[in-house]
């Protein structure tokens, strides 16, 4: 049962803005993201959940679908799934497991144990930058399949292959399928959704969410319609293996559907395969060929009813989530919460560090700049002691050193994992000019280039460059460019 419904019975209430329309068409996107949970063992059996091992070395009777094997639910998988659900603002509810029956060689029992009409997490949402809210319809538990590799066809595709080899290491790995409501209206939003979801998964420790390793997989549902009309027929795009591909696939498919409809054609409900190399979608199968899954309650499992105490424990143990951390960092540093600096620093987990710098009296705004620029290779808790960075930030703030000099000292701090910035500045002969000496040099530069001064006073901002350059020369590079500019401006306004 595909819960991303673009039908009249379950529409999204989100309406695109004028800028978001494509040639007058509204794009509707829903995302189904499968994530592998970071458990030690599989969802229903105790062999290892590990990527990269030799084929068929993490197997057991349940994993192989041997006759007589029975599933037993992994408690830690439930815990992680609840964490994930609560982090997405879902309601955690009593739930059951169903069998989804179909034949495929990487499906060892010829049915997948999943959740159908009573999933674990329902009715949540995710906030994108710019306060855009994307609904999360459900996030349910299910087991992963094995992996097939095809031989003899082009590029390892099934078409034209001679045989396939199946590895069951991945079979039974715990998955959570996160189904968004069709609230996404642009390809950019879709990318942000995936990115934000990933950040949340990492923050709560539910998954390592590596798209390149397959521990996070996106299926993209795309349809278009004219605003005010019913939603159009949607196509599902598979094999979208990176955030960039999410955007490209949506843009391609939107254009394909719009062109088709504009030309009087009809969009067929199909499953498509995204070919990243050629940048297009290809038909995988048409809806009529789809299997009848014959869902029925899994008789080998019993209902899962997390009690209020358990739910509360999980909720209370949730770490601060990325959106909240961005908000907090923005407030602390005065930077915009959608800014690149804030996003990057939170993603690296270095926001707590900036808080530490502020705590010892450092300038948070400058610290943010330093960390963004120079700490890309540092861990979440950087090696440079907070106190050292705080000292640096204060030196620059109090104009004891110029910003250029600060940059130099910063590089050295990072290289050495810390240092006494005052001593370092002294050793390099960095001293900010006192304001008197600086003003004298400014006056000197004005006097030497009356032409530039006249132009600047008349409003030509460009003329300032020559004057600033002259002051820098006079000061042998010690002058603080910002201070010089401020002085010139003040004199011009006087």
């Amino acid at each position: 049962m595909n819960a991303v419904g673009t039908t009249a019975t379950n529409p999204s209430t989100v309406v695109a803005t004028a800028e978001q329309l494509i040639d007058g068409w509204e794009l509707v996107v829903g995302l189904e993201v499968h994530v592998e949970l970071a458990t030690k063992t599989k969802l229903f059996s105790a062999s290892a959940n590990r990527f990269g091992d030799e084929p068929n070395t993490n197997i057991d009777p349940v994993t192989l679908g041997l006759p007589g094997a029975l599933p037993v639910l992994n408690r830690h998988a439930v815990e992680l799934a609840m964490r994930l659900g609560l982090a997405l603002n879902c309601r955690v509810q009593p739930c059951t497991f169903h069998r989804k029956n179909y034949f495929y060689p990487d499906l060892p029992k010829a049915y997948q144990i999943s959740q159908y009409d009573q999933p674990l997490n329902v009715d949540g949402w995710l906030m994108l930058p710019g306060d855009v809210r994307i609904g999360v319809e459900r996030a349910h538990l299910e087991e992963d399949t094995g992996k097939s590799t095809h031989f003899g066809g082009a590029e390892g595709r099934i078409h034209g292959s001679d045989y396939s080899l199946i590895d069951f290491n991945r079979a039974g790995v715990p998955l959570v399928e996160i189904v968004s409501r069709p609230d996404i209206r642009t390809s950019e939003q879709a990318k942000q959704y995936v990115s934000e979801l990933r950040a949340i998964l990492l923050a709560v420790g539910a998954s390592d969410a590596k798209m390149e390793e397959g521990s996070m997989r996106c299926d993209v549902n795309v349809s278009v319609h004219k605003p005010g009309t019913p939603f159009g027929t949607r196509c599902e795009i598979k094999n979208v293996n990176s955030i960039r591909s999410v955007g490209r696939a949506i843009e391609y498919e939107a254009r394909r559907q719009i062109d088709l409809l504009t030309g009087g054609g009809v969009v067929k409900q199909q499953t498509l395969h995204w070919d990243d190399a050629s940048g297009r979608t290809n038909v995988l199968r048409t809806k009529e060929d789809a299997d009848d899954y014959r869902y029925f309650l899994e008789p080998d499992l019993v209902p899962l009813v997390p009690d209020a105490a358990w739910i509360e424990r999980v909720r209370a143990a949730l770490p601060a989530l990325p959106a909240a951390r961005r908000e907090a960092l923005a407030v602390l540093t005065g930077a915009a919460k959608e800014s690149e600096a804030v996003a990057v620093v939170v993603e690296r987990g270095q926001d707590a560090y900036i808080g530490a710098v502020a705590n010892v009296g450092g300038d948070a705004a400058r610290a943010l700049v330093y960390v963004q620029q120079a700490f890309a290779d540092e861990p979440a808790t950087p090696r440079v002691p907070a106190g050292d960075l705080a000292a640096l930030s204060l030196m620059e703030k109090n104009a004891k050193i110029t910003s250029t000099q600060a940059k130099t000292l910063l590089t050295e701090l990072v290289a050495n994992g810390g240092g006494d910035v005052i001593a370092m500045a002294k050793a390099k002969g960095f001293e900010a000019m006192d304001s008197g000496a600086l003003e004298a040099m400014v006056d000197q530069a004005i006097a030497a280039d009356a032409d530039a001064w006249a132009k600047f006073k008349a409003g030509e901002q460009k003329a300032m460059g020559a004057l600033v350059g002259a002051v820098m020369k006079l000061s042998k590079g010690k002058a603080d460019g910002k201070a010089v500019t401020a002085l010139l401006q003040a004199k011009a306004n006087a």
Partner: protein
């Protein structure tokens, strides 16, 4: 209950179940299943409108296990039982018919 099962439906069900039945078998299966389903109409006499289905006879819930690894089955022993194996994996014929 629906009208008796048709030959076409039987053929479709056989495909769903991946059971290769020849024409004669489909015919025989159709008449046998139809006979059984006719007999099963006896439950139409019951008023089931307010009855909850009973899936599992025992009222258990929350049966779980700890996340502790157990050694894998021996790959060689398992593949020795396999109809076809290659490079440590199970080998199957081309997966045609699942993709256009």
């Amino acid at each position: 209950m629906p009208e008796s099962i048709s030959r076409e439906t039987v053929a479709k069900v056989a495909r769903l179940a991946r059971l290769h039945l020849n024409d004669e078998e489909v015919d025989r299966m159709t008449s046998q299943l139809a006979g059984m389903l006719e007999h099963f109409r006896d439950v139409d006499a019951l008023d089931l409108s307010n009855v909850e289905p009973l899936n599992q006879p025992i009222p258990l819930s929350n049966v779980m296990r700890e996340d502790v690894e157990v050694p894998s089955l021996d790959r060689d022993e398992v593949l020795a039982n396999a109809p076809a194996a290659q490079d440590g994996r199970f080998r199957v014929p081309p997966i045609i018919g699942f993709e256009e």
